[in-house]
């Protein structure tokens, strides 16, 4: 059926993870390009191999894992949650209890990664099941506020459980990403220090990048596959019309609990990975802002779509860097004398008594770059939802449809 991508003659074809040859090729190319990033093989992308950019890419991949989980709950099952940060925290602290070293008053068992990483997900899923009875009973906006309450209760527990979470505002050291069979001295695979793999010298960020790429790919496939299983379909039925779903024999409470558990599992894994990669996180990290970031990823990317959520993660994580670079460029133009100078000067305050929306120094008129980030972030969430409710994925669909019919408009 070449040339007629929308014609399916077999049910299996329509249900395939990647239904068309174009998509198969595109995903394969994308994955291959991603794999080459640390080796600087592709001319335009060689700047990404620096450790600073790799750290950001790793963070984006970890956020993608967490956001895929939230997408299952929000996009697939239609249950609104602001409690994702809480479940990430549960996962992270399960990881640090099982994998961390006991020192002083801090507890830790020092177990290897193949125990603490899955356990982080399972612990978060269990907590998800425990809190589900309160969440399953309430609907819509009530649920959003209940899960908001979870974040505050969780933050309180983490902040006060210093033998687990370490001192407030300082936190404790998470286990490094090293693969061991048991507690032997040298790690079998060490992701946490620079070294040589197969004769190629690699930064530790590059090693972590490979690990994260594989994990993110694995969880993407799992998430995409879930949507076509019996469980995934029951989620979609609950989302579309819960009463109709119940009439058809979908157990409402059971499906919602499952959605919470699966979403929390993803969150737990993402939380453990995030903490392990950063190394040391304060208990205040698992706050409402983190939850909002994840909801923003799902909504900016496009709720319910896996590709959109992946795009959204990179967008939200890389946005601060873009804003920083942009204000740097603006500041540079404000100093020069090109045609752009007056516009740039309007935005940038060059000295403490100059007018401008942004000031690059620590303290002066206008916003700092951090504050500009936050403002842009909030503005983008609002504008996206007003102008493109389907998010980045919707923009992609529009571009695709434009070229499909080109040169005709439809």
């Amino acid at each position: 059926m070449r040339g007629r991508p929308l014609l399916y003659t077999q049910y299996e074809d329509e249900q395939a993870l990647l239904p068309s040859m174009t998509r198969k090729v595109m995903v394969a190319v994308l994955f291959a390009v991603a794999l080459t990033i640390p080796f600087q093989l592709i001319p335009g992308l060689d700047f990404l191999a620096s450790s600073g950019w790799l750290i950001l890419l790793n963070r984006a991949l970890i956020f993608a894992i967490g956001a895929l989980g939230l997408n299952i709950l929000v996009g697939l099952a239609g249950q609104v949650s602001l409690g994702h940060a809480f479940f990430m925290g549960v996962g992270a602290y399960a990881a640090v209890y099982l994998g961390g070293e006991a020192s002083g008053s801090q507890i830790g068992l020092g177990l290897p990664i193949w125990i603490w990483l899955p356990a982080a997900g399972i612990a978060a899923a269990l907590v998800g099941i425990i809190v589900a009875p309160t969440s399953v009973r309430v609907r819509g906006l009530y649920l959003a506020i209940v899960t908001l309450g979870l974040v505050f209760i969780g933050e309180h527990i983490f902040r006060n459980w210093s033998s687990l979470a370490g001192p407030a505002e300082l936190g404790r050291v998470w286990p490094a990403l090293e693969f061991r069979f048991w507690k032997e001295e040298t790690a079998l695979i060490d992701f946490d220090s620079d070294g040589v793999w197969f004769g190629i010298e690699l930064l530790k960020e590059a090693k972590i990048f490979f690990l994260m790429l594989v994990l993110a790919a694995l969880f993407t496939v799992l998430a995409k596959n879930l949507a076509r299983t019996r469980i995934g379909r029951s989620f979609a039925a609950i989302r579309d019309r819960d009463i109709a779903a119940e009439v058809m024999g979908v157990a409402d409470a059971k499906a919602k609990t499952q959605a919470f558990a699966i979403s929390s599992f993803y969150a737990g894994i993402a939380g453990a990975l995030l903490a392990s990669v950063v190394g040391r996180l304060p208990p205040e990290q698992w706050s409402l802002f983190l939850s909002v970031q994840f909801v923003a990823i799902v909504l900016i990317g496009g709720a319910g779509t896996v590709a959109g959520v992946l795009l959204g993660s990179f967008f939200v994580v890389l946005l601060p860097r873009l804003v920083e670079n942009l204000s740097g460029v603006l500041a540079h133009s404000a100093e020069g004398d090109g045609w752009f100078q007056p516009i740039a000067d309007f935005f940038v305050a060059r000295s403490t008594d100059d007018f401008g929306l942004v000031f690059l120094g620590a303290d002066g008129p206008g916003l700092t770059t951090d504050q500009l980030n936050a403002v842009l972030y909030g503005l983008l969430i609002a504008l996206f939802l007003i102008f493109e409710p389907l998010g980045l994925f919707g923009i992609w669909i529009r571009i695709r449809n434009y070229w499909k019919g080109w040169p005709f408009t439809y």
Partner: protein
Amino acid sequence: MDMMFLAQVGSTSTEILISKIVDGLALGAVYALLALGFVIIYKATQVLSFAHGALSAVGAYLVSYFAVVWNIGGRVAGGAPQTIQFFISAIVGIAAAAVVGIVIERLFIRPMIGQPIFSIAMITIGLDIMLRTIGNDFIGQGANRSLGQTSLATGDTIGAPWGLTNFDLGGITIPHSYLATIVVAVFAMVGLALFFRSRTGIAMRATAFDQEAAMAQGISAGRIFALAWGIGAALAAIGGAFAAIPPRNFGVNNFTAFIALRAFPAIILGGLDSIIGAVVGGFAIGLAEVLTGHYLASFTDTIGIGFNTIVPYLLMLLVLVVKPYGLFGTPEIRRV
């Protein structure tokens, strides 16, 4: 954040209880004002505004700006008592906050009519981040640094006339500002009750009940939406301003916006769409927070420091397990 300057030396336990109850009622009045704003916006427009925290901080900042920097009260009525002067400035600040609310409604909420409720709620989260950041930039680090006010001793960073003065009723000390909070909140509630009986108020109730039928009767739904946001923002400003005066806090700071987050349990406790519920929920949460803060203070080893700040959420979870639509909320009737 919360500083207790109540003299408790030599007080009996009953006297402490009474002053704590007044303290709790004053905090409850702040929550009730914030919760009322939430509920009015929700009832009229079906929007749950997460931007309320930012609105309360911005409103409180505007009040302090007009009272301290511009001193509008002093310019208009120089000879009048300080309380009158403050109220004049405060009304100007509250009106300015209402304008902010109306502008938000027009720019960001109006285009979203008919969209899923959570998309709109998410927009208000975006607005909250934006407003809070810009507001905090004006407020600066610490209490009101940008206003050049450092007079912690008199505690007049927001321009309120009460400072740290107390009523002393033989063992029971009640700060003037607490009483002022309760009185103003009660006035605001009575005012709202009267407003809902007026022509515009009835129009708002009609719109909340059935938008289409209201429009068929010649009510402009858009104007009602703007009005609801204006009233909501004004109530948020009053709540924020009273949360920022001593002895509870010394001026507007970067944490003022977070107080409104604890008003969420209040509206859920009472029910999202119930005005009475917002008031009852607000006072209940305020009392619970202050009383647990005082009476469980000796258990911090087991329950942790700052346990009283999560009591509202625990109370909310407890009520929701029993009544999923809050104490006074309208249950959604579902039949299979």
